[in-house]
């Protein structure tokens, strides 16, 4: 496919392409390892297994971008970027979030609120990067 298959996190990208969130755990002590690497420093074990997680998270932090930075041309301004802590594993992922301005409830995302995700994509140049897009849980 592309350069996303070159790194230790290739299964993450392959998972998103297939509509699933896969995250790595140590094959020996089962602790979650993110960013994906090669060795678990907790137990010294080499090797990871990838497990599917539901697209549920809590909002860890966020920013709403209003300035047109290079590489963001495909995104309508303003847009919300988040750090989301995936349920039950503590792994934090960067992603985007549907804006909540002018919606029901508070106008800004709230740290700690529950999120649900879907898999979309972000166009950067000629590339289409699979992306988790979060929204406020009903």
């Amino acid at each position: 496919m592309n350069h996303r298959l070159d790194g230790a996190d290739a299964p993450y990208w392959q998972g998103l392409e297939q509509g699933r969130l896969l995250l790595p755990r140590c094959a020996h002590c089962a602790c979650w390892l993110w960013p994906a690497g090669h060795r678990c420093a907790s137990c010294g074990g080499i090797g990871m297994v990838w497990e599917e997680r539901p697209l549920r998270a809590t909002l860890y932090s966020w920013t709403r971008t209003w300035h047109r930075f290079g590489f963001t041309e495909s995104l309508d301004l303003p847009y919300v970027s988040v750090v989301a802590e995936v349920e039950d594993c503590g792994v934090r992922l960067m992603g985007r979030m549907d804006d909540v301005r002018n919606g029901a409830g508070p106008d800004n995302p709230r740290i700690g609120e529950a999120l649900v995700g879907r898999i979309g994509e972000t166009v950067v140049g000629d590339d289409r990067i699979p992306t988790i897009i979060w929204s406020r849980a009903a």
């Binding site: 860890y60 920013t63 971008t65 209003w66 970027s81 992922l93 960067m94 992603g95 700690g112 992306t131």
Partner: protein, 389 residues
């Protein structure tokens, strides 16, 4: 036992050339050569005698290319601190001192040069160092956004009043107003300018962000002994620490929860104070790298000048200014109001302040802490002094 870095090397000369972004009258490398010549001239040292160079932040000027202009006879040491941001700036002095104390070099220039024509936008270069598909997919492509997300957590989750940054910004402009070299020289700054400036990435507006300049800065480091033969009173390096610890780094936002909304300086500050035997109360002034004002606040907290709880009591305009403040910060205006050449103006002001040459002199200042670029995966800090205490 005294730490080997304590007072054993000193800055003997400084040079700074600064211009508005995109308006430098000389090529980047020529600006750097001019800054180095100025630093050597201050010290009364023949530039051909400089035998070492250290930089940081992916500077593009490989020292060997300076030899022709400087007349370098022997280049015996060239090195750079890893990291794409300004985190390595203070660490560069530790690297230079290490070269001198171990006999690998005797006169070392610490430098940074940046002109848009040659190096492009600094923010873009810093980000190119870090960019990956996780960031691109999230639309997170600039240092402002990465720092904004950390700031949002400091304000919203840890409960620090977002208005706290205003006093830091006001103090910076207050100092810049009196500094003929500053971008804000002679300007009356109204805090409404910040409050009404356009959003960049919430919670940052334009005036929360340091804006880049073209230019070059150079500082000449030699052994403390050698400064006796040189023209300027020495400004001693008392200590320097760099790096990070477990729970902070290039972790794709998975830093330890207790560290996430910091500048990343806790281990560095701890080591720096342990090395020198000094405490925050021994520091007479601070040159604080503020890529963004909230990160400046985090850095002050990390270095023990205040806590999350009492930050609003300490980070007050009256307290931050050279004229009577207990914690004078960025006495030349800092990155915000003096000018931003990847932070190299900050150690230069530290030297000038400790020589009594600052546009905003701090009465009786003997020590100055330099805090490097906050929020970078690896950071660094140093303490300078006008005498070995």
């Amino acid at each position: 036992m005294t730490h080997p870095l304590y007072g054993t090397t000193a800055i003997a000369g400084v040079g700074l050339r600064q211009f508005k972004r995109g308006t430098a009258p000389l090529p980047e490398r020529s600006l750097l050569v001019e800054a180095i010549l100025d630093a050597c001239a201050e010290a009364g040292l023949d530039p051909a005698e400089v035998d070492g160079f250290v930089s940081y932040g992916d500077d593009k000027n490989e020292p060997v290319r300076l030899m022709g202009d400087l007349g370098t006879r022997r280049l015996s040491y060239s090195a750079a601190v890893w990291g794409g941001g300004g985190g390595g700036i203070a660490g560069a002095f530790g690297v230079a001192a290490g070269a001198i104390l171990s006999g690998q070099a005797s006169a070392v220039i610490v430098f940074r040069a940046l002109a848009e024509g040659a190096s492009g936008r600094m923010s873009a270069a810093v980000m190119a160092h870090h960019l990956n598909d996780h960031l691109l997919a999230a639309g997170l492509v600039a240092p402002a956004q990465m720092c904004a997300i950390r700031a949002q957590r400091l304000f919203e989750h840890h409960g620090v009043d977002p208005r706290i940054v205003e006093d830091l910004v006001r103090a910076s402009y207050h100092h810049g107003r009196a500094n003929p070299e500053a971008v804000a020289y002679g300007e009356d700054f109204d805090i409404e300018t910040l409050r009404t400036s356009r959003w960049i990435a919430e919670p940052f507006r334009l005036y929360d962000c340091s804006r880049e300049n073209d230019g070059a800065g150079a500082l000449l480091l030699v052994s403390a002994e050698r400064t006796r033969d040189l023209a300027k009173p020495p400004v001693y390096l008392l200590g320097c620490a760099q790096g990070t610890e477990a729970g902070w780094g290039d972790l794709m936002e998975n830093d330890a929860d207790a560290l996430y909304a910091t500048g990343g300086f806790r281990p560095v500050a701890r080591d720096l104070y342990a090395q020198t035997g000094l405490t925050p109360s021994d520091i007479d002034c601070v040159q604080l790298y503020e890529n963004f004002d909230a990160q400046g606040v985090m850095s002050l907290i990390d270095h023990g000048f205040c806590t999350v709880e009492n930050a609003a009591e300490v980070i007050r305009f009256d307290n931050l200014i050279a004229q009577g403040g207990k914690l004078p910060v960025n006495t030349a205006g800092g990155n915000l109001a003096q000018g931003f050449i990847h932070g190299i103006g900050l150690p230069i002001e530290a030297v000038r302040q400790l020589r009594g040459e600052s546009s905003n002199p701090v009465s009786g200042a003997r020590t100055c802490l330099l805090a490097g670029g906050p929020g970078a995966p690896t950071v660094s800090s140093a303490i300078f002094a006008s005498q070995v205490l």
